[in-house]
Symmetry: C2
Subunit: 348 residues, 2 copies
């Protein structure tokens, strides 16, 4: 028998309609025996260190079935998502006590993970550990393959990124600049706009909330049209972009955060431009690229080490701050990648 | 000076809003001197034999600028579109009197064509000449490359084609069957449904006008989802299809005929499925494939000769019947590819 310890957990109260609120969750303290249960075959017991707040998690709060490679949350149970954790005990021969991993884990202090084949062992520790929830984790893989593979970018092309200061957007913009593209981003506050222009080196950026006419805004920044649109928001912005794409333009559809909380999604009207401009609109998910993670690391780690790639994180301290951090994504409260440090950061 | 002859012409009265009507056009008889004007550099004088009625022509009737490789019509002037013609006089060294060509020409008996580099010389005359407005012309190129190049089809995949008995759809369905796909088509009348099943060998077909719930209809025919959608109609059908695509499904967007006559296009709501199912939605136009016309002919001519590919045409007799034939496309009056025989067919 292992030691019995308290285990703080974030619980979903019930399925969510509309915008998620902090009160849709509660934090409870249960207890856990720090020993893998006998029934676990290849599992690991982990101590969670960082948890990732990602927009896709809204999809897991729906009651209706949504086709997605991660199961929906269960009301009354602990929620889960990407995180960084330390292995305390392992029955997976590829992992041992003390190893650091990233992958899907519970929003709690300690978790038992059975699907260890989906965990990534963290090998490089000369970068902040929290980076494995962001630039070196799921959002990084999403940005890297979404941009290089899905967008098929060429030097000199014009690139538009929405939700551009977010976990994925800030990377897409920087990848595009590194390739020699003209890059404009949109975000929802002035500090984010400053960040895009001054920290991430976007050529320009605008606050979509201050633009009464998105079509006019896009025409101002892209008088010759948009070659590549990295889509994170959907709805009105997508409609405006469709009216401003260049011939043979590409739209990589990463997410549509503006639509997740609407009972009826906004209709998109400008789809005929897909024919007229011969646009390729391609949805993608990180899951299809995880087998190329080492290729990704080989490309991105040197850029981080050389200071050619920045990453801004917004780290909430402690699980108690988790629900507010998570729902804050949908009002754009976070500046940069939203992370939750499970314990106070100084303890890690 | 050449002989002065009468030249019957179809004229657009004014730009069109809403559904085009026969009365938006008039047929007038002017005269033409059967000699290339002195100003013509590399032009040809042709006698038009067959004219093609195609949905894209609706786009040329708008007053507002639409990005399209063919210029909009001019009110008061003769309209134009794809056709088959005989060369009467040529200053293009690649064409001579008596040659047959297909390409963009006027809706009139005789035309002077300056952009002769865009004409295709007809080399194979063992098939009906009218085929060069359809299966061996623009719609054929559209269907062939749209299916093989844009859809990236594999044997055994499930394919859905809308406007399936039309100029393009009937070919897409047959190409898909030849490849060993499961193919279902939609059309708007019972005779068209019979044609799809009995003439073109579709596995199944349904009348979309008799389906109160398109989503339910698609689930009936594609319980495991649609791998490939060849999109000709847009609007509600696209929305229903988006909710029924398989993972990594492909949508080739050829046109959206249901939307061309609407002042406000229908909003499409299910676009988030593009992410969830990692769908590729690709618009395309024949213009991008014309340089591969000989490859297309090499593939399709033997299939026609071997009786492995059928083509149903709906031929209107004489230019006087042209306006009704053209506007009939938008109510689905035509059964198969709508053609106008410029002279009575027996004279050709």
């Amino acid at each position: 028998m292992g030691e019995e310890v308290s285990n703080k957990q974030v619980i979903l109260r019930d399925f969510v309609t509309g915008f998620p609120k902090e009160s849709d969750f509660h934090v409870r303290t249960s207890s856990i025996c720090l020993k893998l249960p006998q029934s676990s075959k290849n599992g690991v017991l982990v101590n969670n260190l960082f948890l990732s707040c990602d927009p896709y998690m809204r999809i897991l709060m729906f009651q209706a079935y949504v086709p997605f490679p991660i199961d929906s949350f269960t009301p009354g149970s602990v929620i889960y998502g990407y995180g960084v954790a330390r292995v305390l005990e392992s029955r997976d021969p590829n992992l041992k006590e003390g190893d650091l991993v990233w992958g899907v884990t519970g929003w709690e202090e300690y978790s038992v993970i059975e699907e260890t084949q989906k965990l990534f062992k963290i090998e490089h520790l000369d970068v902040p550990l929290s980076y494995y929830t962001g630039i070196l984790g799921m959002p990084g893989v999403t940005a890297y393959f979404g941009f290089y593979d899905v967008c098929c970018p060429k030097k000199g092309e014009s690139v538009f990124v929405s939700a551009a200061s977010g976990a994925v957007g800030q990377l897409v913009g920087q990848f595009a600049k590194l390739l020699g593209c003209y890059v404009v981003g949109s975000a929802g506050t002035q500090p984010k706009i400053e960040l895009l222009k001054n920290k991430f080196g976007f050529d320009d950026a605008f606050n979509y909330k201050e633009e009464p006419n998105l079509d006019a805004a896009l025409k101002r920044y892209f008088p010759k049209g948009i070659d590549i649109y990295f889509e994170n928001v959907g709805g009105k912005m997508l409609d405006a972009v469709l009216g401003n794409m260049s011939i043979h333009g590409r739209i990589a559809v990463c997410g549509m955060i503006s639509q997740y909380n609407l009972e009826n999604t906004e209709g998109v009207h400008n789809l005929m431009n897909i024919v007229l401009q011969r646009i390729r609109m391609q949805g993608f998910e990180c899951f299809d690229y995880y087998h190329r993670y080492s290729e990704f690391l080989d490309a991105v780690l040197p850029l981080i080490r050389a200071g050619k790639l920045s990453y801004v994180e917004d780290i909430a301290d402690g699980l108690n701050a988790g629900p507010a951090a998570l729902v804050g994504l949908f009002s754009g409260r976070n500046v940069g990648k939203q992370v939750v440090a499970v314990a106070a950061q100084s303890c890690i």
